[in-house]
């Protein structure tokens, strides 16, 4: 498995970026952080577009930069491609010529332009002027162009930021398909946790130019539930439970899909997409969408009821004014995060190791792709 060793500092007048982290480049690695956290700076540094770096970047035993050894590999020699947020297509070339530009400069070309056109669903747009494409089409061309340069590492800088929800879903599926078919490691930058939760295997969290956490996507999202309280207020995220569970029934005859959680079940609205039994579905449930009952709920319209045990009760140590706590409940080995008021906590007299029931509606189980 290729690795990316990052150990460098980068200073601007109003911003300092510092990192010492090794990333395992398996599948898609998300880079999460809010505006000004250093996400794009990190990608630009890896791509070779930042010159004022002090330190080293080593990709798969290849030193891209080492300032103590005075080594600097130029951007065009790194075999790393960056698809920019604003696509940056060449306006004097049509779609096909933009793609040929990349293919011609690829020294060991393996991919076929027509295959990439089909993969990125651009077959009908080859002769189109890039100025007349929609934002989604532009991003697909930018992705196809980046792929045709046949990089060893693909960097995606907020590729969905300018797109509507339908286009976002389409492009996210395309990114997953591309990654799986080409087995290409991808670093995917976004400030949307929902996007990252759907596609990433691992995630790096940045805040104010520093690494806050790195690891498995579900684990880091859950860590973020606790970290978010210590981050600056504008960086607050929606606390949530991130899941990847097998489908046991795509349609139970009542418009609901069923996911298996050991001996328990989670129901969510049936998807219009073709899904198969045992396929793992990524989904998330906001902590504010789950409630706690002390006894098994009867005669409720809420379809999801899970039994579990409270493992932690955390209040915000930085902000007493929220009057809320984050309760972690373990159901069949899976941690669920529940955001409730301190009033409710005191009313129910919740305590660690207490057996409780969680309730949430089918609609509270969210997916970005299905």
């Amino acid at each position: 498995m290729p690795t990316l060793k990052l150990d460098f500092n980068l200073s601007y007048k109003v911003f300092d970026f510092s990192i010492n982290q090794t990333l395992d480049l398996t599948g898609i690695t998300g880079i999460f952080g809010h505006s000004g956290s250093g996400k794009s700076t990190l990608l630009r540094a890896i791509a070779g577009l930042e010159k004022n770096i002090s330190g080293s970047i080593i990709f798969d035993n290849d030193t891209l930069i080492n300032t103590t050894q005075k080594t600097f590999k130029k951007a065009e020699q790194r075999h790393i491609s960056l698809a920019f947020q604003n696509s940056r297509l060449f306006p004097h070339l049509n779609v096909l010529d933009n793609l040929k530009y990349a293919a011609k400069r690829c020294t060991n070309s393996q991919l076929n332009i027509n295959e990439i056109l089909t993969l990125t669903e651009l077959d009908n747009l080859t002769g189109a002027n890039v100025g007349e494409l929609s934002s989604g089409q532009k991003q697909r061309v930018a992705l196809a162009r980046a792929l045709l340069s046949e990089p060893k590492l693909l960097l995606l800088d907020e590729p969905l930021s300018a797109l509507d929800q339908t286009s976002k879903t389409k492009l996210l599926r395309l990114i997953i398909k591309v990654q799986q078919q080409l087995n290409l490691p991808i670093l995917y930058v976004s400030h949307s946790l929902d996007e990252l939760q759907q596609v990433c295997d691992n995630m790096l969290i940045l805040s104010e130019g520093k690494v806050i956490d790195y690891g498995n996507i579900h684990h880091t999202i859950h860590q973020l539930n606790f970290l978010s309280a210590s981050l600056p207020s504008e960086q607050l995220i929606h606390q949530q439970t991130s899941l990847s569970l097998p489908i046991s029934n795509t349609d139970n005859g009542k418009g609901l899909m069923v996911l298996t959680l050991a001996e328990q079940e989670i129901l969510l609205p049936r998807s219009s997409e073709e899904l198969s039994i045992d396929q793992h579905l990524r989904c998330f449930i906001l902590a504010s969408d789950i409630s706690i009952c002390l006894s098994e709920p009867q005669n409720s319209t809420i379809v999801n009821q899970l039994s579990g045990t409270i493992s932690t009760i955390e209040s915000s140590e930085f902000d007493d004014s929220t009057h809320s706590v984050l309760v972690t409940v373990i159901c069949s080995g899976q941690a669920f995060y529940v955001h409730i008021s301190t009033y409710s906590q005191q009313k129910l007299a919740l305590y660690i190791n207490q057996h409780v029931y969680l309730q949430f509606k089918a609609g509270a189980v969210r997916t970005f792709l299905y």
């Binding site: 577009l49 130029k74 747009l125 002027n129």
Partner: protein
């Protein structure tokens, strides 16, 4: 034997063409450097490049005449290298023209490079294109109109030169006698008929050149739609 005016036309076109070529060769990297430069010294270089716009041509011509004379280093070096005197030669009027028309080439190119920015060049680098490749495949096609403008202005301004050429080139037929000086000669000799022919030719030629530049820079009608 060609007529003196025809000879002046040939010298003028030769001088303007050579000057334009040299201006593009040295003006392009200079304009690129100025467009990308962030140092505070940028304003000083910009001021030096723009100086011919405000300086009386005779001032520039006077100092060039002194520099080109065999008593001073540039003139001495030239004489050692070529065995010929620099002042009052065709080479002198080409060098003078290059300096005098420099801002007409550098300024439109600098503006075009600044407007182009770095984003597309970074995209090119990400696709494996090196600096020279990026220049010819991205910069040149996207700033083509500015190159045409710069070359046309440089050429037209060189054709219309008078003061600098008179100072450093004199009036040697077939060598340094250009159209503007031939015109001045006719006026001085009260030969208004021949002066009119040259004046109207220069006027119409300049008009055609400038109209062609504006025509080339007209926004193109977009064709083809995305399906």
């Amino acid at each position: 034997m060609p007529s003196p005016d025809f000879l002046a036309l040939i010298v003028t076109l030769k001088m303007a063409a050579l000057t334009t070529l040299i201006l593009l060769l040295i003006g392009t990297p200079l304009a690129w450097y100025l467009a990308k430069m962030t140092s505070r010294f940028k304003v000083i270089i910009e001021a030096i490049v723009a100086l011919p716009l405000v300086l009386p041509p005779t001032v520039l011509g006077f100092y060039l005449l002194i520099a080109f004379s065999p008593q001073h280093l540039p003139g001495q070096l030239w004489q050692q290298a070529t065995g010929q005197q620099l002042a009052f030669s065709f080479s002198a009027i080409v060098i003078g023209s290059v300096l005098y028309s420099l801002p007409f080439v550098v300024q439109p190119l600098q503006k075009a490079f600044e407007q182009l920015g770095d984003s597309l060049l970074e995209a090119g680098a990400m696709l494996g294109a090196g600096p020279i490749d990026r220049f010819f495949t991205i910069v040149l096609p996207l700033t083509k109109a500015s190159f045409i403008t710069a070359a046309s202005l440089g050429f037209a301004h060189t054709v219309g030169e008078f003061g600098v050429i008179l100072m450093i080139g004199g009036n040697i037929p077939g060598e340094t006698r250009v159209l503007s000086i031939a015109l001045f000669d006719h006026v001085e000799a009260f030969d208004y008929a021949r002066a009119h022919v040259l004046a109207i030719s220069l006027l119409i030629g300049s008009m055609i050149l400038l109209a062609s530049v504006y025509l080339l820079n007209l926004p193109r009608q977009k064709s083809g739609r995305a399906s």
